[in-house]
């Protein structure tokens, strides 16, 4: 891998004597949404993936349906660092509206494949330009003019195959997989692919440094979006009731789930072992989940920030009446409607303390698609074990983008429904039993379920005693609230525990959660490799926090908590319980511009805090990281 090592560090220079940069670049396709480029983009991603090379694909799309600028970015990296990277090395410019700015923000040495009429060549002389007459090329392969808009995208795949030496066989295989049954469409696209390859072969002499070479790092792996992964988890968790209301970026979670359930949870006679209802809004969606969970079903809903706000009152009921509920928050940029198609970790604090009065809620924090799958199952178990609403905090980057992963393991433990009373248990407990009586000392009571024939009780959001009787007594209220606190302490040991990588003697510890993980891994490499700074890493996977958090802080001189929001929301939760000495060690590294955080932004901020000058112009502040793009519409 020596060459690669060298290659990946080599500074790209202006065309002429190109050093080879193998399997290490970001490729971006700039187009407009609704132009059907998604197929071409996924085929490109998949073909590189099939060549055994680590990749990721991110779609940056506008909050409308068609006609606005969209960017699809593929990160290729030999070491498996597939977080977003700021610099774009290869640009495919298909959108007149943004082509100019797109080109101007490229680093020297980048390659630009563009639609000839856009005439971009003149813009800069430190880039390698590849003009392509898309319309000329598409006409012959696609007689039906109406279909050309779609098919022409396949042409740039052919061009790139040739320029980057992507194996055409893999391209074709990927295309056929993508097309599925649509044979005729497949033929047309194959022709377009070929036309692109031929044109590049004939008219585009290789002038840039980038190319791919087969590796063996993706054998057996899958490509999937976090929402689909979470949906599989819900199905395997035995979810029986889905109540939902569409909202970007969570809709595809419930929609994939319903698709899987139809396929794998319908009996031969056509009858379903699930019920999925599109509610009239989020309040109703959660109401259905709470009603269903109360009646003994495993029920879930998925939403985004605005839905979380609307669910606030019902979440308080779930907390106080102790009804399980599984809620996925696929976070997007707030406040309010915000940027519905951009990513953030901005709902953490509000969600942890959601609803009026004294409340606290467990949060599960998946970083990878596999954790979306696994924590979905954890969430159903936890919601029933703790008898309370449980939140799975995903984000748009994880939920809607395409990630590599090892295949998901079949669950190794049976479904855990928590403390559901049985005849036997009731006989054992006898008079001790009360719906809200803490007979086990862990703050978690035993419940019965309507229709189970066991003693019924009256569920309410108003004051009640251990026997679930209405009460306004000061002692009943206080005892109950103290028990709920105890229950939340019990949760500390039940939520997913952190993944800790301790470097003995490292002065610096990094803490992060969710999708920030991908950039952290790369940033740690940068700190070590460029500055010789060793770091430990605490990947938080659940709230409430466990004792390991404090211990980790104790083991380091300085700890950086990296999050993708403005107000250091997770830090706020830590501040509520950590002692002063520990707090004194924590510094906050923030990123909040709607784009997934990149490793360089983290590295630079850590270096700045450490009093070391960052190598890149201070002008590129963390917030501003990433090519800043116009997708706003003047008049609006």
């Amino acid at each position: 891998m020596g060459t690669l090592e060298v290659a990946s560090e080599a500074e790209p220079v202006s065309a002429g004597s190109p050093p080879r940069i193998v399997n290490d670049f970001s490729l971006q396709i700039a187009t407009v949404n609704g132009s059907g480029s998604q197929t071409a983009n996924l085929v490109l991603l998949r073909s590189i993936f099939q060549m055994g090379i680590p990749v990721s694909g991110k779609n940056m799309f506008p909050s409308n349906i068609a006609g606005l600028p969209t960017w699809y970015t593929i990160r290729v990296n030999p070491k498996g660092y597939i977080a977003r990277k700021k610099e774009i090395d290869i640009l495919v410019a298909m959108n007149a509206e943004t082509a100019r700015e797109d080109v101007l923000t490229l680093p020297p040495g980048a390659a630009v494949v563009y639609d000839e009429p856009l005439a971009l060549k003149g813009l800069r002389d430190d880039l390698v330009f590849y003009p392509v007459p898309f319309d000329k090329l598409v006409a012959p392969v696609c007689p039906d003019a109406k279909l050309r808009r779609l098919v022409r995208n396949m042409i740039y795949d052919g061009i790139l195959a040739r320029l980057l030496s992507i194996d055409m066989a893999e391209m074709e295989k990927a295309l056929l997989k993508q097309m599925g049954k649509k044979a005729r469409a497949a033929q047309m696209n194959l022709a377009a692919l070929k036309a692109g390859w031929d044109y590049a072969e004939a008219s585009l002499p290789k002038g840039d440094a980038f190319s791919v070479e087969r590796m063996n790092k993706t054998a057996g792996m899958i490509l999937v979006e976090g929402n689909a992964a979470a949906a599989m988890g819900c199905m395997m968790a035995g979810c029986t009731v889905v109540g939902w209301y569409p909202i970007t970026p969570s809709s595809s979670l419930c929609e994939s789930l319903i698709g899987y359930l139809r396929k794998y949870r319908t009996d031969p006679d056509g009858k379903a072992t699930f019920a999925a209802v599109q509610a009239e809004d989020e309040i109703s969606a959660l109401g259905m989940v709470i009603g269903a969970s109360w009646a003994g079903a495993r029920a879930m809903t998925a939403t985004a920030g605005p839905g979380i706000s609307l669910m606030s009152e019902f979440v308080g009921l779930g907390y106080y009446a102790e009804v399980p509920a599984v809620i996925f928050d696929v976070q997007r940029v707030g406040p309010s409607t915000g940027l519905p198609t951009r990513t953030a970790q901005g709902d953490i604090l509000t969600t942890a303390v959601l609803s009026h009065g004294d409340t606290r809620h467990p949060l599960l924090l998946p970083s990878t698609v596999q954790e979306c799958y696994e924590m979905a199952m954890d969430a159903f178990d936890l919601a029933e074990q703790l008898q309370t609403p449980v939140f799975v905090m995903m984000d748009l980057d994880l939920g809607m983008n395409t990630w590599m992963s090892d295949p998901f393991p079949y669950p190794d433990k049976p479904i855990n429904r928590g403390k559901v009373l049985t005849e036997a248990k009731l006989r054992e407990l006898g008079a001790q039993w009360g719906r809200y009586a803490d007979v086990d000392g862990d703050g978690i009571p035993w419940r019965t379920i309507p229709g189970d024939g066991l003693p019924p009780f009256f569920t309410r959001g108003s004051g009640h005693n251990a026997k679930a009787q209405y009460s306004e007594r000061a002692d009943d209220y206080g005892n109950n609230m103290d028990r709920l606190s105890k229950k939340f302490d019990t949760a500390r040991g039940l939520v997913p525990q952190p993944e800790i990588e301790s470097r003995p003697g490292a002065p610096i510890g990094l803490i992060a959660y969710g999708t920030t993980d991908f950039s952290i891994r790369e940033s740690r490499y940068q700190l070590q490799d460029e500055r010789g700074i060793a770091t430990s890493y605490y990947r938080l996977r659940g709230y409430p926090f466990g004792s390991s958090l404090g211990e980790f802080i104790d083991q380091h001189d300085r700890v950086y908590l990296v999050e993708q929001n403005r107000d250091a929301q997770m830090l706020a939760l830590m501040r509520m319980e950590l002692g002063p000495e520990r707090l004194a060690k924590i510094r906050s590294v923030l990123h909040y511009n709607g784009l997934p955080v990149d490793a360089r932004s983290i590295t630079d901020q850590v270096l700045a805090h450490e009093g070391l000058q960052a190598p890149i112009p201070a002008a590129l502040r963390h917030r501003m990281s990433g090519a800043v793009r116009a997708s706003g519409v003047g008049g609006e």
Binding site: G238, F274, I290, A297, A299, L317, G451
Partner: protein
């Protein structure tokens, strides 16, 4: 003499609930009594019944009947979604929801609309007193134009006719009654327990503390004087087959899906509760006259209910074992393969 037992061998007392905390004379208490009677006479198995409500004096009442059933006093105006979820989880449960005119007509109108539209199989009772009792008597959306508060304040907005709305939206059994009309209310409740689909029962239920004064159109006096029954309702459950002699043209009969029969004896010109449009006309005209049409206003005995539409397995989803709800290794393998 021996206490009367119903068909499952229980006595009336076994259908009672906790001691009411509502005002003496509140219409809601009378309705709770009728619910107890109806469930007793129908021989309901309390363990298979659930009681749901929102927030309000009316919504407190499920605690005062059927203590043998699970109850869920949810949040204000949101009983419909909770009831929907519960029935999705276990379609075998018999659900009775009690709400108020504020709970369902104001904050809860959105969920009300969509529950009616889904024709969710449940008995949905609105204890309608034209005001917010629990918050001390403000007007609710069913307060009639010109009706006054004790303070003298006059309501200048038109009332929402919850029955008309329910019919318009698709509820398959819509009726109105009066907490003081023991015979009619009990008959309608029993029919409602037998019908499969949404039974929306708007029961005028005076608030003696805040809305029973001169000038109120929801007072006992006003309602008694302005109740305009469409017919005499009597109910014969499927498990009794009494021959009811009916003079043709005088009495019509509605047969429910389970074979139970509702007999409607004309009082004025005859009324066909299966005709949606005439139901709407009747509601409009009586309202215009400042009267309350009571009785079985509209019924569609065989309309598919929501749970049937969902076509789930026969067992309650809530009670399915892991073997039925966790697909096998093969399913996961197939999924993984499709992603390679």
């Amino acid at each position: 003499m021996a206490i009367k037992l119903n068909r499952i061998g229980l006595e009336l007392a076994q259908y009672r609930g906790g001691k009411t905390t509502l005002c003496a004379g509140c219409g809601h208490n009378a309705i709770s009594e009728r619910i107890i009677d109806a469930c007793f006479e129908m021989g309901i198995d309390a363990k298979q019944m659930i009681k749901l409500s929102g927030i309000g004096c009316s919504s407190k009442s499920p605690a005062y009947f059927l203590s043998g059933s699970h109850g869920f006093n949810a949040v204000h105006g949101r009983m419909p979604s909770v009831a929907t979820g519960a029935l999705l989880a276990n379609k075998k449960l018999l659900a009775i929801g009690v709400s108020g005119d504020g709970d369902s007509g104001a904050i809860g109108i959105g969920q009300f609309v969509h529950l009616m539209r889904r024709n969710l199989p449940m008995l949905y009772i609105i204890e309608d007193n034209g005001c917010y009792g629990l918050t001390k008597g403000q007007f609710s959306p069913t307060a009639d134009m010109g009706s006054t508060l004790k303070t003298g304040a006059v309501n200048d907005l038109p009332p929402i006719d919850m029955c008309a709305l329910a019919i318009e939206l698709g509820a398959s059994f819509v009726a109105r009654s009066f907490s003081g009309d023991k015979k009619q209310l009990t008959a309608l409740l029993k029919a409602g327990l037998a019908h499969r689909g949404t039974v929306m029962l708007d029961v005028l239920s005076p608030c003696v503390t805040f809305n029973d004064h001169e000038g109120s159109t929801k007072s006992y006096d006003y309602v008694r004087e302005h109740e305009d029954p469409l017919h005499e309702v009597s109910f014969v459950p499927h498990f009794e087959d009494i021959a009811v002699e009916q003079t043709p043209g005088e009495t019509s009969v509605v047969t429910l899906h389970d074979g139970s029969r509702v007999f409607l004896k004309n009082v004025g010109e005859d009324y066909d509760p299966t005709d949606k449009l005439s139901a709407m006309r009747t509601l409009m005209e009586t309202a215009r006259r400042g009267e309350y049409a009571t009785g079985l206003i509209y019924v569609e005995p065989d309309k598919d209910d929501f749970c049937t539409l969902l076509n789930t397995v026969d067992e309650p989803l809530a009670l399915l074992p892991q073997a039925r709800t966790r697909p096998p290794q093969a399913a996961l393998d197939e999924l993984m393969e499709s992603l390679r």
